[in-house]
Structure formats: C-alpha cells, structure tokens
Symmetry: C2
Subunit: 144 residues, 2 copies
DNA sequence: TTGCAAATGCAAATTATTTGCAATAATATA
DNA sequence: TATATTATTGCAAATAATTTGCATTTGCAA
C-alpha cells in the first residue's frame, strides 16, 4: 500500500476524501479478484484506520453508483466488488475454489444483432459468466 | 388449472405426492416467466389448498435439486424459479418492465472451446443474459 | 476559522431464506 | 383395510446479508 490519498479523484466525483474512502480505494486497487463487503472490511481493519462495516457498505454503494466499482452477484452468493473494469470483459469462475479469471474478448456482438432483429428489443448490455474447474481443482477432483 | 395430481411423476423422483407439491407443479406449469418463492406462495394461497411459505421454499429447494425447477438469481434481486427448461436457452430481459423473452440457440460453443484451451479450465456451464428494452418500453422512453 | 452539509459509527431494523420441532399425511406392507 | 414407518408440513424462531435512523464527527468552501 503506497498512496493513501485520492482527494482529487474523489472530489471529481463530488465525494469528500475521507480516510475510510481512501483506504477502500487502496484495498480495491490491490485485490486481484472481487471481494465481498465483509472481506474488504476485514482487510480494512488490519490497517490502522478503523472503518465500520456499515460504512464499508455505504462507500461501496456510492462507488458502485459512480461506476468506480463493479458490483456482481454470483448465483446465490453475496455481492462482490471490484474496481470497475476499464475494458469490457467476462469472468471464468472455478466452481470449487472460486478462483476468477478474467477473459477479454466478447463473443456476443453478432449474436446480439441477430437477437435484436428477431425480437425488436434494443439490447444495451449483457452478462456472461463461464463456470468450470481450474486445472488444480480438476486434479483434486480426479484424485477422489 | 386442470390436472392437480402428479403422483406418478413425483414418485418417480422419490418424492411423495402432496397437495402442496401438486399445487406448486401446477402453478409452475402455468406461469410464463420465472417467479419468486413468495409470488408462487401468493398464487398458492388463492387456491383452496393452503401452503406455508417455508413449505414453498422447501418444495422449490427439492424441485431444484431434482432439476424439476431452475433457480435463477438476477443481479441483486431475489431468486426466481421456473420449470427447468427442456432445451438450453437464455434470457432477454427488459430493464424497464422486466418482461423476459427466452431465446433458443447458444452462441457460445466455439468460444468455450477457445477459452478452455487458453485457460486450462474445464468449462461445465455458463450463464448468459441479455438486457435491453422491449419494443413497448422503447416507445415509452422515447416519448419522454 | 467557522459553518454546514456530507460522512461516519453504532445499534436496531429489514428482508430473504433456513431451521428445529412437534404434528400430520403419504406410502408400503401385514 | 389397519398399521407402521417415514417424509412432509406448519409454525415460530433463527440466520445472514444488507440497510437505516440518529446522534456525532469530519471535510471543505467561504
Ligand atoms: Mn461481452
Ligand atoms: Mn448458452
Ligand atoms: Zn479451482
Ligand atoms: Zn419492457
């Protein structure tokens, strides 16, 4: 964790720079996979700055509203948050260890056009996730 | 609502035929879009047979386990249930009126193979939903 | 520096879903 | 058909994630 001040950045979004928000931005910058509000809260506790869990929820809500973060929810599980991706991408999720791999490249452009013609819908976005087993988990499963 | 007895069908799955289960099967058969447990419960109450909400949850849980129903959860919202589709299909959802259109034909087979090669994952399924505006809602939005 | 709106902490509320347990109902079989 | 054996149900209470009310604190613009 280096930089702990995102004042300009936050002000640009009309948000005050608080130690809690700076801290969360820093945490979000350093995580490689999406985290739940509670996971982020637990990381925050480890730092010297204290944050309350409701504050974490409130901050993530505001960040999501401003598209600073992306809020995702898998099948049944809790919502997870990550910095909003700069490019359009999709996720490949391991059903056993929950590892997430981001995949660039979207296979849906043509399909969307076809569907638009067939249905008269105007499609504005989509959600695509692939589920499977990562190499490690494939081995573990095979060994049982 | 015609037939109210699915005894053979339920027994085949190792489940007893109860008036609650028969009723739910009938409701599920007649709905055109996925419903929440509570929506199904409310429809059930309208019939003469009484059902408890926890029972509805328990029945839907068991149905889902047996793949009689499909349990889906959109972004933040509650889980919804529908009869398990006989063919692989995806949903096109209107962001304004929440209408759901089912679309047959999956554009992902080739893409999955490519991703498997790139990532060493073994892909077992995927989730694809398209979001947009239905024709009616497009008009309404344009008129504002 | 001060004033005020925005942000926070804390506890309590909400909401969807699940669970324990005693009562009831469905099936198998005597 | 009567009975025994389980599975299923109803009801109330528990859980778990998220949200909210309110008093206090903080950031920042004037
Ligand atoms: Mn895409
Ligand atoms: Mn598909
Ligand atoms: Zn894995
Ligand atoms: Zn619509």
């Amino acid at each position: 964790m280096e930089e702990l001040n995102y004042k300009e950045y936050l002000n640009k979004y009309g948000m005050k720079s608080t130690k809690q928000r700076n801290l969360l931005l820093n945490i979000l910058k350093n995580i490689k996979i999406p985290h739940t509000a509670e996971q982020i809260y637990l990381k925050a506790r480890k730092s010297d700055a204290l944050v309350n869990l409701s504050t974490v929820y409130r901050i993530l809500e505001k960040f999501t509203e401003k598209k600073i973060t992306l809020r995702t929810s898998f099948m049944d599980e809790k919502c997870v948050y990550s910095l909003f991706p700069t490019t359009h991408q999709h996720q490949l999720i391991c059903l056993r260890c929950k590892k997430v791999i981001l995949i660039g490249g979207c296979p849906l452009k043509e399909f969307e056009k076809t569907v638009e013609k067939q249905t008269d819908f105007s499609i504005v976005n989509h959600r695509l996730e692939l589920y499977g087993y990562c190499r490690d988990c494939q081995k573990i499963i095979a060994a049982n």
